[in-house]
């Protein structure tokens, strides 16, 4: 066990955990921030995607000891009122079916748009390819990413 001070969604959090614990389980078990989902545990499905600084990362492969001072953002902290352009676009296109993967999809999409405000179809596919949607909402996700991109540029 070791002590860590983490900066999560703008709040400092003190923890005493095994340094190898992946952020996914720190968030879910220790902080009860369960919007970040477990899907595979081996960085293949993207359900656990969070932002480390400005980058979308798979929290199931990110040990708490590797985080240090870096800012962590989860789906709960993406916007104050659920009104991030990507979240709004998701609602407008009515993307979700079961909804389980969508937090991860939204976190990947929002990180993509920060870096590339006008992604092409291929760039969207490439960036989003690590996020599985078992219900098959891929065409809607792409539509929502484009909608978010256009509304961000207005």
């Amino acid at each position: 066990m070791a002590n860590f001070t983490l900066n999560i969604n703008g709040t400092k959090q003190e923890m005493d955990v095994d340094p190898a614990t992946p952020m996914l389980w720190v968030l879910r078990d220790h902080l009860k921030l369960v919007g970040t989902k477990y899907g595979c545990g081996i960085a293949q499905c993207g359900a656990c995607t969070i932002h480390l600084g400005d980058n979308a990362v798979r929290s199931c492969q990110l040990p708490v000891s590797a985080v240090a001072e870096q800012k962590i953002t989860t789906i709960e902290g993406l916007s104050e009122n659920g009104d991030h352009p990507v979240q709004k676009a998701w609602l407008e296109v009515d993307v979700p079916q079961c909804g389980y993967c969508q937090a991860g999809q939204i976190m990947t999409a929002s990180a993509l748009l920060e870096k590339n405000p006008n992604p092409s179809d291929t760039e969207i596919e490439t960036a989003m390819n690590g996020n599985i949607c078992r219900c098959g909402t891929y065409t809607r996700i792409k539509k929502a990413v484009k909608l978010a991109a256009s509304s961000k540029n207005v």
Binding site: K37, Y38, C135, Y138
Partner: protein, 732 residues
């Protein structure tokens, strides 16, 4: 004008009482409900008690807000939006004033629900309409009484009751409390379909905001103070049983509270109890990460108690079954053998598909709190009633002492019809004497599933000299159930026809997987028909329409399980929408149509080859599911079905070696990803006034046929063995 009864033999389907905080509370039987104009059951058949079970509620508050308490499991079909729309339509209130709420947990109000077989809307349609119409009628009666008028002097719309020949108006909210003491009308009038204002529009998912902001909705998100966590370990192979493990070492690991072998077996199990491993190593603690470390450190001994099967063995077993297996169901019209002898051309093809896992993205999990005399279960299940029964048997508790409540479900696809994970949570809770949440890892989930069976079917067709289809036979075997529906298409369209559904055996656990058997049959049959059409020199759509003409005008045999006009209808619609017959150079087209779960779907696929790899450019879907309730959500279901169909037929398989699944996680088990999805999907609905039918499953089966047919055009070779990606012509 459609009238609907609200009672049968003086037993009412509706109960009305005062709502807490003011207003009117209408309770009704959400599922099953009553049937329109047919309160008389068939002679000798008792009206099931469930019809009278009050498990749906509408609250009309004195502010005019209408709260609909939705009991149905939400596995992503969007019924928590579309079902309340049906109530709001008949009640005639503005959708903006409607709040949809999940049943509060632990009330016991909302047991005995079910989500499977694309039945949710089909079973609830009449009950939901009746409940809404009863509310409207009673509010109007209350207003009439207040004003000293007759109900016929009033009109109600959008939550306002108005005097037809006067100025007075009153809102539902203002009159709601006064409707409480009135007698429930015996019969109410339903709206004419042409007067629908809400049904047929597109309304957003009522839970959308909660989903995109990461609120705790799912079983895996459920938390209760003092709850512990549990993980399990099952034997590595079907046919094996846990003997013992390094218990002392595991118990001494950080964060481990307890470790033991739990026994989940009980007498008198039924089909929803399907599970290959009844004894499981269990590790209990407070942190999943620590439990996973302990799981890694397990050293267990297993004993072999059954055959250790491999995929090679499965193929041989299917081949043998086709020759000498037990026929479960069959049909024969005319004399196919004689017809093949005189046929000018005979075409025969064999199709296969592997076992596949459900892989819901939320792995199996459940919360249980078992005490001396009660059991409380909370989690993602499609069949709470079956779970309740199984837990009652396992613990020897009376049914009424077991409660099951549902969370949102992170994907179902049939997997959560099976209840063992809830049973396991109950057994673990009993053993530790406290509340516990059991979580499967992805590997656990994938390697102890209730898989889609592996299949093998042989199709054979005979054409005469004029290229008429004179004989058609299909023999299909599965491990265990055969993938043949003897009375479905093309039954009724061919003079000499036979279909045999053949059973075989396996100790690999199997079950319903989205559109059971149809998920294979549609692809095989529709791909085969295209090759027959080609041999006959006919256009694939014209060829199918000719067959439907036969079923319409002069059907062969006594019955068939489809309406040929509606089948032909979706084909004609997709033909028109896709502009069939006109394709750009380099674009390869395939079509398929299929009927299952009471819904007809036809699809056209356009494929291009990029570096010899097929890319689905566009998909057109034509759907006849009767009345469409929530249009955009209905399109979403069909789009998902198309993508799921492509994904599993193209990429997914679960193979076995020595009884062990060879794929354990998404690194080796391929699921379709963003870049492999169609670039565009368009969905069109046939407009009619037929009661709505399901959408959860019917979009998937024809996608496999249309994909195979487009691939045939693109590659010049048939695709007979799923997953298509492993057929050489695709990879190379």
């Amino acid at each position: 004008m459609t009238q609907i009864k609200t009672q049968y033999n003086r037993r009412s389907f509706i109960k009305v009482s005062a709502a807490a905080g003011g207003g009117m509370l209408i309770g009704f039987s959400w599922l099953n409900g009553c049937k329109p104009n047919t309160p008389e059951p068939e002679p000798g058949v008792a009206v099931p008690n469930e019809w009278f079970e009050i498990n749906g509620y509408i609250k009309i508050g004195d502010t005019g807000k209408v709260t609909i308490y939705s009991p149905n499991p939400e596995i992503g079909q969007n019924v928590r939006t579309s079902m309340p729309m049906i109530v709001a339509e008949e009640l005639d209130v503005p959708w903006e004033n409607v709040i949809v709420e999940q049943a509060p947990l632990n009330t016991g109000w909302y047991q005995n629900q079910f989500a499977g077989g694309s039945l949710s809307i089909r079973l609830s349609w009449n009950a939901l309409r009746m409940a809404g119409a009863t509310g409207k009628r009673m509010l109007m009666e209350a207003a009439a009484k207040e004003w000293g008028l007759q109900v016929s002097d009033l009109a109600a719309s959008e939550g306002i009751i108005k005097e037809s020949n006067g100025e007075r108006t009153i809102s539902y909210g203002e009159i709601a409390s006064k409707a409480v003491g009135l007698e429930v009308p015996e019969e109410v009038e339903l709206k004419a379909v042409k007067d629908f204002k809400l049904i047929g529009t597109s309304q957003k998912n009522v839970d959308g905001k909660k989903i995109v902001t990461g609120e705790p909705l799912f079983g895996l998100d459920f938390h209760r103070e003092s709850m512990q966590l549990a993980v399990i370990q099952h034997p590595p192979a079907f046919g094996m049983k846990v003997k013992d493990f390094n218990e002392d070492e595991i118990k001494g690991m950080p964060g481990v509270h307890d470790a033991f072998i739990v026994d989940t077996s009980f007498e008198d199990s039924d089909r929803f109890d399907e599970k290959g491993f009844l004894q499981l190593i269990t590790i209990v603690g407070n942190s999943i990460w620590e439990l996973l470390q302990a799981k890694k450190a397990l050293k267990a001994n297993y004993e072999t108690v059954g055959e250790l099967e491999s995929s090679g063995m499965h193929s041989k077993r299917l081949e043998k079954a086709l020759v000498s297996g037990e026929v479960q169901e069959s049909r024969k019209d005319g004399n196919p053998d004689a017809a093949f002898k005189k046929a000018a051309k005979v075409i025969e093809r064999t199709y296969t598909a592997p076992f596949i896992a459900h892989n819901t993205l939320e792995p199996m999990n459940f919360f249980a709190n078992v005490t001396e005399d009660s059991a409380e279960l909370i989690g993602p299940t499609q069949t709470p009633e079956a779970l309740e029964g199984s837990v009652s048997k396992l613990l020897g508790l009376p049914l009424e002492n077991v409660t099951v409540n549902m969370t949102r479900i992170g994907g179902g696809f049939g997997r959560r019809l099976y209840v063992h994970f809830g049973v396991e949570a109950a057994a673990i809770s009993k053993k530790i004497g406290g509340p516990v949440k059991l979580m499967y890892t992805r590997e656990d989930d994938m390697t102890q599933g209730t898989y889609r069976p592996t299949y093998r079917s042989v199709y054979k067709a005979g054409l005469d000299q004029n290229n008429n289809l004179i004989a058609f036979t299909v023999k299909g075997a599965g491990l265990p159930e055969g993938p043949v529906f003897p009375n479905r298409f093309p039954a009724g369209t061919v003079e000499n026809y036979s279909a045999e559904k053949i059973k075989s055996e396996t100790n690999v656990t199997t079950g319903a997987w989205r559109a059971p058997r149809s998920n294979f049959t549609a692809g095989a049959e529709q791909a085969f028909l295209d090759e027959v059409a080609e041999a006959a020199g006919k256009d694939p759509i014209d060829f199918r329409l000719e067959l439907f003409d036969r079923a319409i005008n002069d059907p062969v045999g006594e019955e068939h399980e489809y309406e040929a006009e509606r089948y032909a209808g979706v084909l004609k619609l997709v033909k028109e929408k896709a502009n069939w017959g006109k394709t750009e150079p380099g674009v390869h087209r395939g079509v398929a149509a299929y009927f299952c779960h009471s819904t007809y779907v036809a699809e056209v696929f356009d494929i291009v080859l990029e570096n010899d790899n097929p890319v689905v450019q566009k998909v057109w879907c034509a759907v006849d599911c009767g009345i469409v309730v929530n249009k955009d959500a209905a399109k979403n279901m069909i789009e998902g079905g198309v993508i799921d169909g492509i994904g599993h037929s193209m990429y997914s398989q679960l193979t076995f070696e020595n009884g062990a699944p060879e794929q354990m996680n998404f690194d080796s088990y391929q699921l379709i990803r963003h870049s492999q999805a169609p670039k565009e999907i368009e969905v069109f609905f046939v407009e009619n006034e037929i009661d709505p039918t399901g959408l959860g499953e019917p979009g998937l089966p024809p996608a496999i046929g249309a994909l195979a047919n487009a691939l045939y055009k693109a590659k010049g070779m048939g695709h007979y063995h799923q997953p298509f990606i492993s057929e050489k012509q695709i990879v190379g």
